[in-house]
């Protein structure tokens, strides 16, 4: 490995599949989806829309994350803290040095808290239980809060580009490490399920009232999920210096924009194809070197058709094995790119393929069949992970064995 390499030396995750990377892996291999009826969020859509909720109350998350004080912690920030702590513990680093940065992503930020009490922000003298959340709804807040909890100093920032957000956080962290501005970068994202997001997506008519069916001819939309997922990126030099064993390598990355429409992807898949192609090239590889794809695969009519076409156009007749793990985790929005990067590393380290659950019939226009059953035993060495967002923001990452 050249000394420019950007390694992954730690990972952490909490999702509908469970708390901790190991619990998530177990669920994936056992084909236990995290998607089901909504039981935690107080919404009129209970019973009508499924989601992939983290099966912990805010208090339980607070106890798990154990910040010095639980005052003012939104669910999004708690999901983030739980996952960041796990990643740091695995990497064996203390976040306090100035050569360690934090790049986090979210779409909803602290809205999960402010939405419940928004009307009371206008009161002349709101009580403390309301006041503690007045400054928490902007995306940067959760990042700052986590940084403060960990005693960090230096480079911290927040990215919000819809569904590609945390893939972009990974990309930014990798670039900063490679440029020598940081030795280690904690990168990832967190997003709690909230009424704002659920109703917003519902207004776009892209939610499936049943558990989603990515890449299936009869798919009817996506299911929302919530999660926190982070990775510790580290320069090869830094990892070598402290004897840290890399879990995998972030070998390549690319971000493009469709410039096509405010929410839809171009049907010819050009934006997606370009992002994938550039990411592969940036890794010094060719398409045929990729042996697995973690697709964006939301289950919407638009995404899966254009992503399928893009895969076909990029890989020709030799589309590698591909899967949508959103059939397990739901679409976790700001956390999705990081969730799927973690799962890509698991695929590599455990020679695992995770099934695209509930798949039945391929899409007519591009008859592609994803991995349908979870299994281990077949090596995975170079994964392409896609996160294609609203407003046509497309990011692909190439993650390889260390």
């Amino acid at each position: 490995m050249s000394k420019d390499a950007v390694h992954i030396t730690g990972m952490g995750m909490v999702s509908a599949l469970g708390t901790g990377v190991a619990a998530n892996l177990d669920a994936l291999l056992a084909e236990r989806t995290g998607i089901g009826p909504i039981t935690r969020l107080a919404t009129r859509h209970r019973g009508a829309l499924p989601a992939a909720e983290v099966k912990l109350t805010d208090d339980e998350l607070g106890a798990l994350a154990a910040p010095a004080s639980t005052q003012g912690w939104t669910r999004t920030a708690l999901l983030g803290l739980v996952a960041v702590r796990e990643a740091l513990a695995q990497a064996g680093i203390d976040a306090r040095g100035e050569r360690t940065g934090l790049i986090s992503a979210t779409t909803a930020g602290g809205i999960d808290k402010s939405e419940g009490i928004y009307a009371r922000f206008f009161d002349d003298d709101p009580p403390e239980e309301v006041r503690q959340y007045i400054g928490t709804h902007d995306p940067g807040e959760h990042t700052e809060r986590i940084a403060r909890e960990l005693g960090m100093r230096g480079l911290i920032t927040t990215i919000s580009t819809a569904c590609s957000s945390s893939a972009n956080a990974i990309m930014t962290g990798a670039r900063l490490v490679r440029a020598g501005l940081l030795d280690t970068a904690i990168v990832g994202g967190a997003d709690a399920l909230c009424r704002f997001t659920l109703n917003g997506f519902n207004s776009l008519m892209i939610l499936d009232p049943r558990p989603c069916r990515p890449f299936d001819r009869d798919r009817a939309g996506l299911n929302l999920g919530e999660a926190g997922a982070y990775l510790v990126l580290e320069s090869a030099t830094s990892a070598r210096r402290r004897g840290a064993a890399p879990l995998a390598t972030v070998a390549g990355w690319a971000n493009t924009n469709e410039a096509f429409h405010a929410t839809a992807s171009a049907p010819d898949g050009e934006g997606a194809r370009t992002a994938m192609d550039r990411a592969i090239t940036s890794a010094g590889l060719r398409p045929q070197d990729i042996d697995h794809v973690n697709a964006h695969g939301t289950g919407t009519l638009n995404n899966d058709a254009s992503e399928g076409i893009a895969l076909r156009r990029l890989f020709g007749e030799n589309v590698p094995s591909f899967t949508s793990t959103k059939t397990f985790t739901g679409h976790t929005l700001g956390a999705a790119g990081a969730v799927e990067a973690v799962l890509s590393v698991l695929a590599i380290r455990h020679s695992a393929h995770f099934g695209t659950l509930r798949f039945g019939t391929p899409i007519a226009e591009t008859p592609l069949i994803p991995v349908t059953r979870s299994s281990t035993g077949k090596a995975v060495t170079r994964v392409l992970s896609n996160s294609f967002g609203f407003g046509g923001n497309n990011t692909s990452l190439v993650i390889t064995a260390a």
């Binding site: 007045i134 940067g140 927040t158 704002f196 109703n199 917003g200 207004s203 924009n257 407003g391």
Partner: protein, 341 residues
Amino acid sequence: MIGPQPGFDRDDLAGVMAYDATPLLITEPDLTRYIDPMRGRRMARVARTGLGCGLNALERAGVERPEAIIVGTGLGCVESTDRVFASVLLRDEEMPSPSAFIQSTHNNVAGQLALAVKCVGYNFTYLHRGLSFTSALLDAWLQVGREGARNVLAGGLEVITDEYFLTQRHTGIWKQGPVHNLSVLASTSPGALCGEGAAFFVLDSAPRSADSVRIVDVDIAWRGTADGIVPHVRAFIHRNGLVPGDIDLVVLGPNGDAVQDRAYDPVRALFPQATVSAFKPLCGEYYAANAFGLWLCRSAMVTGGLPPEVVMQGPARGEFRRVLLYDHYQLKDHSLVLLER
């Protein structure tokens, strides 16, 4: 630059406006050259401002389509967020307007700019409070300086709403009641003068004209407090092979908060020989205010002058060859930019 001061489509301010108000609001210039008026009327104010300002920056730089578009904003489109809140929260999850939801997505302005110029390249939006624009600038600077990009559009913007200003009044961040902007730095009370605005820049791998300035270095330093900021500023200058005496102009971000503005004093004391200027009496305080600060730095370097109303020390006119911009937001988000002619 679009803000409370007149200076759109210019290298410098056309004049200095005094206000007795808070917040300090944008005076919207005529943007019909960039945005069809009917479409403009339907857009949220932040989208119209960002789109108009960004397109103007490209036009002034003679760049039709940049390789990348990067935006920094602390709040994104709070106007559209409020509309969705109203449906979802105040009217019991009544289905929100899809267009309001779409416009509330934080990267909407960057997406609109890409659509307008058909830029299919890199497109990022940073939303990190006082570091939002600094993050966008650092990213653009890395791309052009180290990653081989030819030109990148980077901007910072913030547009607030009455509702947002109202809900934040309990945080103590801003002064309430009418504030005279040009004398706000003499204030003895806490709270900043709240403002809004946008400034966009084209970063280019080669100087396009005599009016180009070079961005030498960009630094983001988040801290819980302003402790240790003086050694940090020294180290920033030093790592560029300079000493404080080499700096001709220091532009600082005091905002009228008498308590927090004190953090600038020891930094200012490093530069007894330089011209020192503020910028927030002109634009107010907001997450992306340092974008206007950068605009003022460039303006001073290219025109040789600053509005005397904001100069704190030294001559308002001169040859400002090496310029340092230092800004903090709420004592936590510290940004440094070094520029050279």
